[in-house]
Symmetry: C2
């Protein structure tokens, strides 16, 4: 019955009145009391308060400066306004915690300074470089972030201000800023997108503080209150039932902040909305899932545009982790992340987390789990998979992406993979071309090469057909399509598999990629290798380019290559123009290998080749890059021209060891020496894998049946091999 | 009187008899007793014993294998024989420590197996790739290292063996190995070189064990016992009075092991030789000096051939640190290094170190000191300087090299500099081109590009004249010449200077380079910048190329450049053939800048240019490198053609901050905007340095007078500026 009423409330927006006390957004009166009662007890809480005090003190000492907006991202006024909102909110919370008036006074003066400046502002002079210019900042996104902070700061000092001051701040600052968000930037406000979430969050928070029901309802249900836009609609569209966020992990890292802050605010003001439980509890799932969408050192997996080095220590995640632990589920893995973050929110959530960590409840290690996350609003538009093996610091992971495009931060990289070992990137994804907030690099915005190279198919560990990106590079088309899930099984750590298919990226070309982390029961293999089966089926002939970007230093390939003493780009468009062609050769044998070293270990790709047909191209990113915006990353491309159907079957094998300290080099040659295609048809794909010591294994996967009880069989050297279920991996005795 | 007798003994080699007890080389009976008495007391000692036990146990389990030598460096038999000597010595010491017979039995069997194999061996089949092939290994160097271990192992089990076994091992193994070293490889044995030290050490140790006075004397005084070769002669020639080793820090790291092990052995057997005090105590000085010749994370400074990643945690340094602490001076900095090493020698020295660390005597931080180390046997052949600022993890260092060439591991890099900040390389030296012990990379030997690129002048942060390396690339000539010290002053941490001169590298071109870490008394500058004055004087015109190799990502330069859409090498020889020319431009202004980012900070080189004359070349190593042996490192070259005399005056300034986590970018523009040459003549070089805020400073150095009381003066804007002493750095008010 309660659930039914909630549903009614959600659908019709029949709000009860809001509790009119201050503060009551994220930081609450109760939170302030809890913090006061727990001072001196939990190191992480005390540290976080001390850091806030130090930051505010430094800025109070410098005096308040609210400059006329002028500079682009990274420039002085940009960074100053960012600093201002951060310091203002911290001071406001410290006023609530300490009762020391100079904090409230500082916030009051700053808000009044903004109230004086704001009405005089037109569009930001650098706004021309942004599709959506702001007023305080070059892009309105930053203005929205500013409002999220300012509304909270105002809430904390509300009772300190007199009514004239409130009126001034509300009319000349907060309502104008809301108006700018909702009206001048209506398109963003009503957009299903992380920018929309920020705008919505700022407006909703302001609405709650001002007790403006209309404002709140428009934020939650959209401008027309029809649920076609607004907060709930964003959750509907952007989050899958598994908590996966369609733009990818890096952007969830950003979007989670307004999302969770607004959810928390709704929870504090309208608990009957049961916002965390909305849509099959997708928000509740999204935070643990986000922590899992990281590489073995906690950096977000580069699904779509992503800056490397962004880890769960990022400030946005502090909110997500603290609120999730307090409001949603007391998962110890959240405490691990909080401990890594080294600070907590100044709120009741932060107190609970600091207490739990103080009581030793945080686990010593983070447990990454093998998992698949479905993509799409309904979970029916492909997904991403993460296979995990081993523990930090020597953790291995393999990823595959086979979901939707991901809006304007999407990459044209259907069925791309990533591979990590030793806690490091081994097969890498470029991430994005951007020096964020560094003014000299185009104001810190995405650089042109992000579109012309990084987003293109050839920049990824996948197949490019006919030197054209997925969907011919048409991102609108890409946004309408998705790959599909086929099979995921990680029940056995020594035998983990994911397989997915796509028929949309290249019309007429059916693609299926199966990757598996396989550890044979043999002392040769102290850890798993990655089997990679990329199956292409087409009636018409094509050129297939299978690229692998590797991190480390090249050691050896068996393919004789011609080295380029003068370098040219590998092509003219679709990303190829940004690849220096360093060398090229043609396979002479039915298997060829390519070895490199990364830190303490060697890696070899061994792949089935067609002698005199399969070409190897050694490439490096950075061509046609006059501003030197790209990193120089090394890759290899296995190319086959004029092919209808082709199974690229490869093993990526970690082997041996190297120590620069002892200079000991062991096992620099791969253990796996040969793969062989046994069968590859609509029903089954099967290969054998042969080790240096003569032992052989069979890996087979059914291509059209995931019934765990179905029986399959193939012929191998005149004998019948049968198995039940989708896959098999066994040693074979001849 | 005692000293006089020692001198007599040293000169005439009048040995008293050796103490005939076993073991008595490095590991002694007394050491064994001390270890036994201290078991369970000091974690580092217990850990080291436990590690030795584990290593030996694993190998005993596998059984003894003494394979017929076959493989090159990194190959199976190579690594197996290396493992054998290590395990054999550890087992031998454990026999002494524990009295457990299976240790002695293991060593006995292994020595007998070698005694059986050794007489059958000819020259190693891969020896052709080495100038000096060995028997067990492809190069005789490794055979010498083997003997150093085998002699010690034999010493430890001497009393366990019966006389037949001893006779067998002595005649069929040890004496044959000594004979190979002293006779078949007489040239190496009598060479003044680290290879010589290893050979001498093995022979001397064997001599002491066998009580063979002749063998010992030949090792210490040379084959002819005339002190023209042998151990003492090596110390004379290779070590400067400051303890600097002429091949550089990386090779001292290697050479120190036989040196200190033999010194310790002599100390145990002939203490009257006072070996540590020999030649003004150069050995005693060399070990603390070696620890200082490291970058801010303890990796050896790349003076000459050097593998990056080699730190004082290397095994060789464990011996040096432990023996130095026990026998020479109980310097707490040695304990810091020992703690980083995480293990101690199994000897009396190790006990003393483990005890001191167990008692908390190790300091929390290593204190790097600014210092100059003189080069040359007598200390009169130039030197190296290290300027230090700040503490780990944000330590800064600047280095300059102006000594001898450094024999076959020397680089043609007169007056080259290095710069470190944040504990990271900022202006980098390539180190060496070698994948040590990785068989696929030419058996792990130095690669051809080490000679053709890494050793060449253009590969360094110095000036190349007329596109020719120092001495026209003639290394024999280089070995006969050296730069000279001029001035070193690091008494004030905020104003550290070193200046050196060279007239030998380029006939007719006088070079003087002065670098200074300068921190103005101004809030703009939170840490010092590096001033770099490279002064070239010539009667004839030349092309001057001043190169800087930087680590990090390029951000901006004010020089308009033409970007190369197809890349060619920057030249045809002398290292230029290995540089891709990525872009080139010409200065338009009298000052130009070049900015990059490395981790959390920006760096800008601001340099005085001649408009329309000074060229900028952006280069990257890796051209004409068909085996991909080179790393791709980025550099810039400031080029001036047809110049007689030129003062390259530059500032390398760390500025601002960047955080990928908070995305905050601050101060991405340099604070220093302009340098100006005030005067540059035989007497004085002076420049002004102007900051963005308009403040200006004067730096001046006398070029021909280091008398601290001498007075100097120059004219600056019509006023006379005077100072006493060699240099001045002051703010100037116009």
């Amino acid at each position: 019955m309660k659930r039914f009423i909630t549903a009614i409330l959600l659908i019709f927006g029949l709000f009860t009145c809001y509790a009119q006390k201050h503060p009551n957004l994220v930081f609450t009166q109760e939170g302030a009391a809890q913090i006061k009662n727990n001072l001196g007890k939990y190191p992480l809480l005390d540290l976080s308060i001390a850091e806030a005090k130090a930051k505010v003190a430094a800025n109070i000492a410098q005096g308040i400066e609210v400059p006329v907006p002028k500079d682009p991202g990274g420039g002085y006024t940009h960074e100053k306004h960012k600093l201002n909102y951060d310091v203002m909110l911290n001071a406001a919370m410290l006023w609530q915690i300490t009762g020391e008036k100079f904090y409230a006074e500082f916030v009051r003066e700053m808000l009044l300074a903004y109230a004086k400046l704001y009405p005089t502002l037109g569009i930001h002079p650098e706004g021309v470089n942004s599709g959506v210019p702001g007023k305080l900042f070059w892009q309105s996104l930053n203005d929205a972030v500013w409002l999220v902070h300012a509304a909270q700061a105002y809430d904390c000092v509300y009772d300190y201000l007199n009514s004239d001051e409130r009126k001034n701040i509300e009319n000349n600052l907060l309502r104008l800023s809301v108006k700018f968000s909702m009206e001048d930037r209506a398109e963003t406000f009503n957009r299903i997108h992380n920018h929309g979430l920020w705008a919505i969050c700022g407006v909703a928070m302001t609405g709650y503080v001002l007790n403006d029901k209309d404002m709140v309802e428009k934020a939650i249900y959209g401008s027309n209150k029809d649920k076609k836009t607004g907060f709930l609609s964003n959750i509907d569209a952007l989050f899958s039932p598994d908590g996966y966020y369609c733009e990818g992990s890096y952007y969830l890292r950003y979007a989670i902040m307004p999302t969770i802050l607004l959810a928390k605010t709704i929870q504090n003001n309208q608990p009957d909305l049961h916002i965390y439980a909305y849509k099959d509890s997708t928000l509740a799932k999204s935070i643990p899932a986000l922590l899992q969408q990281t590489d073995p050192i906690g950096q977000f997996l580069p699904f779509n545009d992503a800056l490397k080095d962004k880890a769960w220590t990022s400030g946005e995640i502090v909110y997500a982790v603290n609120i999730a632990y307090n409001d949603i589920a007391a998962d110890p893995l959240l405490l691990y992340a909080a401990q890594q973050q080294g600070r907590v929110m100044l709120s009741a959530d932060g107190v609970v987390v600091a207490k739990a960590i103080g009581e030793g409840k945080a686990p010593a290690n983070f447990k990454w789990k093998s998992m698949e996350l479905r993509d799409g609003s309904k979970g029916d538009q492909g997904g991403v998979a993460m296979l995990r093996y081993g523990q930090t610091p020597d953790a291995m992971a393999a990823t595959m992406k086979y979901g939707t495009f991901g809006m304007e931060h999407g990459h044209l990289d259907k069925l791309t993979i990533g591979f990590y070992d030793q806690g490091r990137e081994i097969l890498s994804d470029y991430g994005s071309a951007r020096f964020i907030n560094i003014e000299q690099k185009r104001g810190g915005r995405y650089l042109p090469e992000n579109k012309t190279f990084v987003n293109q198919t050839i920049a990824h560990n996948t197949v490019t057909v006919d030197q054209k990106s997925n969907y011919g590079g048409n991102t609108k088309k890409a946004d309408e399509c998705n790959a599909v899930r086929y099979y995921f099984n990680a029940s056995d750590e020594r035998l983990q598999i994911v397989s997915a298919k796509d028929t949309t990226a290249y019309p007429g070309v059916k693609m299926q990629r199966t990757i598996a982390l396989l550890q044979p029961d043999d002392s040769y293999f102290t850890r798993p290798f990655l089997l990679d089966l990329f199956n292409l089926q087409s009636e018409k002939p094509h050129q297939y380019d299978l690229a692998y970007y590797y991190q480390g230093d090249f050691i050896h390939t068996g393919i004789k290559y011609d080295y380029e003493r003068e370098m040219q780009a590998a092509g003219g468009s679709q990303g190829y123009q940004h690849l220096w062609l360093r060398a090229q050769g043609t396979a002479a044998n039915d298997n060829e290998s390519f070895t490199w070293i990364n830190a303490a270990r060697f890696y070899t790709i061994t792949t089935i080749c067609k002698p005199e047909k399969t070409q190897l191209l050694m490439v490096q990113s950075g061509a046609n890059d006059p501003e030197f915006n790209l990193r120089n990353e090394n890759g290899i491309i296995f190319r086959e021209q004029n092919s209808n159907s082709r199974l690229f079957a490869s093993v990526i094998e970690p082997h041996g060891s190297f120590s620069p300290i002892t200079e000991a080099s062991l096992g620099s040659y791969a253990n796996i020496v040969r793969l062989k295609e046994v069968v590859n048809n609509a029903a089954v794909t099967a290969v054998t894998i042969e080790a240096r010591n003569g032992k052989r294994w069979l890996f087979a996967i059914s291509n059209n049946n995931t019934d765990p009880n179905a029986n399959h069989s193939i012929e191998l050297n005149g004998k019948t091999v049968s198995w039940a279920g989708t896959h098999v991996f066994i040693m074979i005795n001849d």
